[in-house]
């Protein structure tokens, strides 16, 4: 890699109480790279990406995001959070605000855009995720797929350099998965740096540059999606892929 990595994990360790949830994680993500992270439940995938915007704190090792090291310094955390967008499994839209206000509030309060300008930006992103006609509804009035698209638009409004997706289709009814994945494929085509925790193997194959397989808090295997799915090297990955494919 010629360029500096935008995300760098160096020997990162983390415990939840006595439980060793991340074990010596080393990872470098280049700008524009699209990484899919998979692995059995409880393997530390979500915890790892949540460390990137410090929703979780690591206890040992170094994490550097966009040239800034993650420490307890509040200023650093805020500037990193404004560079990193995140979309969650349970959408986490703000239920007491309209869809439009969900998109405006961050721009207005964090990026300090005037309200009118923020609304314009919000509408362009709502159009991009094809949901502009719902701008004045409250999140509770939308379907799961629509809510998740709003959540993606909310993150994009902050003009992040990196996007984190934490099992964003797991809580959706099957017929709504595609509309959300389509938005993510679009985003990938634009060159966004993306870390995606997902079990959507089709998405991984078409979009990812690299697949990372985790188990018991460690990165077990890294490969291109084609090679990983067709020819997993480790036994754990073989059995995992067997189980996941069995379901699809």
């Amino acid at each position: 890699m010629s360029e500096e990595p935008v995300i760098l994990f160096d020997k990162v360790n983390k415990w939840f109480g006595d439980f060793h949830v991340l074990r010596d994680i080393d990872l470098a993500v280049a700008k524009g790279e699209r990484i899919v992270i998979c692995g059995p439940s409880g393997s530390g995938k979500s915890t790892m990406i949540r460390c990137i915007n410090r929703l979780e704190e690591h206890q040992q090792g170094t994490i550097i995001v966009d040239g800034i090291e993650l420490t307890d310094d509040i200023k650093n955390i805020d500037s990193i959070r404004s560079e990193v967008g995140m979309v969650f499994q349970s959408f986490n839209l703000f239920p007491h605000m309209t869809v439009l206000d969900n998109l405006v509030i961050g721009q207005h309060l964090v990026r300090r855009l005037p309200k009118g300008e923020a609304e314009e930006v919000a509408m362009t992103y709502l159009e991009r995720v094809k949901i502009a006609d719902q701008a004045n509804k409250h999140p509770g009035q939308l379907s799961g797929g629509q809510q998740q698209r709003v959540a993606i638009a909310r993150s994009l409004c902050m003009k992040p350099k990196i996007m984190l997706f934490d099992e964003v289709t797991s809580a959706l009814d099957p017929e709504m998965v595609k509309e959300v994945l389509d938005v993510m494929v679009d985003l990938a085509e634009e060159g966004m740096t993306m870390l995606v925790v997902t079990h959507e193997m089709g998405f991984a194959r078409t979009v990812a540059n690299r697949v990372i397989f985790m188990d018991e808090g460690q990165i077990i295997e890294e490969n291109t999606p084609g090679a990983f799915f067709d020819n997993p090297a480790s036994e754990r990955a073989q059995s995992f892929i067997g189980q996941v494919l069995h379901h699809q």
Binding site: L55, R81, V84, G85, F88, F91, H96, I105, H138
Partner: protein, 369 residues
Amino acid sequence: MEPILKPFKEQQAPPLQSSGFVVWLRSNFFSTWINSLMTIGLLWVIYQIGSFVINWGFIDAVWFGESAKACPNVHGACWAFVTDRWRLFVYGLYPSELRWRVDVFYGLGALTIAAFVFSFGPITKRLRLTMFIGFPIAAYILLVGGMVGLKYVTPEDFGGLLLTVVIAAVGIFASIPLGLILMLGRTSELKVISKVCAYYIEFWRGVPHIAVIVMFVALLPIFIPDGNKIDIVVRALIAFAAFNSAYMAEVFRGGLQSIPAGQFEASKAIGLSYWKMMGYIILPQAIRNSVPALVNTCISIFKETTIVLLIGFSDFLGIIQLSLEDPKWLGPPHIFSSAYVFAALIYFSFTFGMSKYSLRLENRTNVDH
């Protein structure tokens, strides 16, 4: 296996709802024989109570008169006691030539309530904010005076409904912001702050309110230099705010705990600072979820104002009791019962209003579906 195909059914209208008063009656009150029996039994009870209330409270009641002699009929209410003394009940010992100031205060209070109950189109929000901030200031200037050409009236002359309303309003409106601050403190990640707030809350919740009131009124001057100069009513108000803010803090903490962790995470993920996250995302939802418990606490604050009786204040209930001791009104016990029924009705109408308003608030702020 051959596929089993079922014919597609077009959408159909729902079955006709049979309606009308008789159908409604039958389905709600006479659906089974046991239901019918209960309905008839309850009707009989309602009739008995209703006829008693009408006879006692209206037909056999005495409405006007100047002393106990006006109320010889022990089977009817003695409203004469109330109509003869209502000024005292409403104004307390407020100087009679200055009572217009209390009238203006009540009027402004009614307008403020109206501003929150009714909608006034685009200016509603600004109007409410103006009243919310303006009313307490105006109330203080009007009632206490000593400025803008208004003669000073010592709060010790407040009494009756005026004192009850002032103590309740100050108790409620001081303890809400204090409670919010205490709740934020208690849930803070800074251990020192959270411990201090937790102990503050536990202390004031754990001490009998009567003890607190007596302590503030009697003992405060001993601990604080010049404590005697703090008006005795103000001391009671401080005591009220102190323990009620502890209850409010717990009410708000309950609301806070109902907010899913995802709301905090999403706020942090878009880069909101702690205060912006709390102010724009978490507290609006937490407060909304606290409304039923909040109004519950407000109602109990309103009713609990009567404990100032114990330190010699004549609040609404106190002044009614005092008037009952007036030799002019010493008489048969039904004057007593009439007086207390009247007091109960007034307290009830205030608290019932609060609970109705809270229901409206819950419905209005419910935007989830």
